[in-house]
């Protein structure tokens, strides 16, 4: 399984990447939405993208819209991972095409729970 972690905070990318790596994912990273699009355009086919909302250059919501516009990337599961926690924001992200929404701060278990819901827990660790 492959994941793309998109966050402008290097520390946060490391935290998410670490959890995913421990679960058996191969992880690529991008520092903003534009970089993420470049990674995807280069042919990377992640199963999952974890996307922060507030980032410079291109924010996460715009990235979700752009990824959903391109049928080539329709198999990529998109999960917002963000401090934005208003009811209306979650609704907006889901309407834009995000499959899941994880609010920071979160525990490794809650990320794992979300992957379980999405059917994206690598089989070796799925309970």
């Amino acid at each position: 399984m492959r994941a793309l972690v998109v966050d402008d905070s290097r520390a946060m990318r490391r935290i998410v990447a670490r959890i995913l790596t421990d679960l058996g994912y191969e992880v690529a990273e991008a520092g903003d939405g534009q970089q993420a699009l470049e990674v995807l355009a280069s042919g990377a086919k992640p199963d999952l993208a974890c996307i922060d909302w507030n980032m410079p250059v291109m924010d996460g919501l715009t990235l979700v819209v752009k990824v959903r516009e391109n049928p080539q990337w329709r198999d990529v599961t998109l999960m917002m991972v963000t401090t934005e926690s208003e009811h209306s924001q979650i609704v907006r992200a889901l309407a834009a095409g995000a499959h899941e929404y994880l609010i920071k701060p979160f525990t490794p278990d809650s990320l794992r729970d979300k992957l379980d819901l999405l059917g994206l827990l690598p089989s070796a660790v799925a309970s």
Binding site: E100, F106, T107, S110
Partner: protein, 274 residues
């Protein structure tokens, strides 16, 4: 009885040392509710006596049980998603065919802070076969403090992160300050009441489904057998029993038949025992 401050401190330090998980002040109810079955199992009168016995004599097995009870069972929504998928796609549609009164009664027998019964109601509301049916969920727990929390129906950001799909969150919850409140459409279907599984059950009527997940593991064999026998009496003959993923009736009470349901299993009373 509530847990003594020194007992809480001891347990908090033990859990932090062994698991790096920090039990903040205010988690006394959690410690008490999780350790009460262990205390019983060990033949101690209450949690304080049980913790004292650990303080007096280091016991690696008991210490590990304490840490596991407080860490691996962290309550989440739709905990182990499979049983709830089975409920939605198999159990409720089957019951919908068998019931003409358009009513379902479900018992969550160790409901802790309410995530399981509320998840049951949300699952039912998302099941077309029982749309518009009257749903009566009875949710019980030993601990009055967790029941009070469950009745409040408000959960922290960290709690709603655990296993709750985002679509479900926005559909059934509203923000209330830093917390999220479950909608009246869900909470009104649930009645919370205290109940000790070790004692004879109070009159509750008959249920179509019983959730008894991750609680038998704390009891010894005769107690497990006795609880399962009494559950049989409150479950309708064609009803369904959900146990935890690590639990089974085999070798405990063979009046039950394990039936596959989706990626999960449920238990039904064998024909000859009905």
């Amino acid at each position: 009885m509530s847990i003594a401050p020194e007992a809480f401190t001891f347990v908090r330090d033990l859990v932090r040392r062994e698991s790096a998980i920090v039990l903040d002040a205010g988690k006394e109810y959690l410690v008490e509710s999780r350790l009460t079955p262990l205390a019983r199992h060990a033949g101690e009168g209450d949690v304080n006596a049980y913790v004292r016995s650990l303080q007096v004599r280091h016991d690696p097995v008991r210490s590990r049980q304490v840490v596991e009870a407080l860490t691996t069972n962290e309550t989440s929504w739709f905990r182990d998603a499979d049983p709830f998928t089975a409920l939605r796609t198999e159990v409720l549609p089957e019951l919908a065919k068998a019931r003409t009164n358009r009513q379902l009664r479900i018992w969550c027998a160790a409901c802790s802070s309410g995530q399981e019964p509320y998840s049951v109601v949300m699952s039912a509301l998302d099941t077309p076969a029982v749309a518009g049916w009257k749903l009566d969920v009875v949710a019980t727990d030993l601990n009055e403090e967790v029941l009070q929390r469950a009745r409040r129906g408000t959960y922290s950001q960290l709690e709603v992160n655990r296993g709750l799909p985002a679509t479900t969150l926005v559909k059934h919850f509203t923000r209330e300050g830093a917390s999220w409140r479950i909608s009246p459409a869900v909470s009104s279907a649930v009645t919370f009441r205290p109940l000790n599984l070790m004692r004879p059950f109070p009159p509750m009527g008959t249920f179509d489904v019983v959730f008894l997940r991750n609680v038998l593991i704390y009891f010894d064999l005769p107690t497990k057998r006795d609880i399962l026998r009494r559950v049989r009496r409150v479950l309708s003959p064609d009803g369904y029993l959900f146990l935890g993923a690590a639990e089974m009736t085999m070798g405990v009470d063979d009046s039950w038949q394990r039936v596959p349901a989706g990626r999960s299993s449920v238990y039904r009373i064998r024909g000859e025992e009905r």
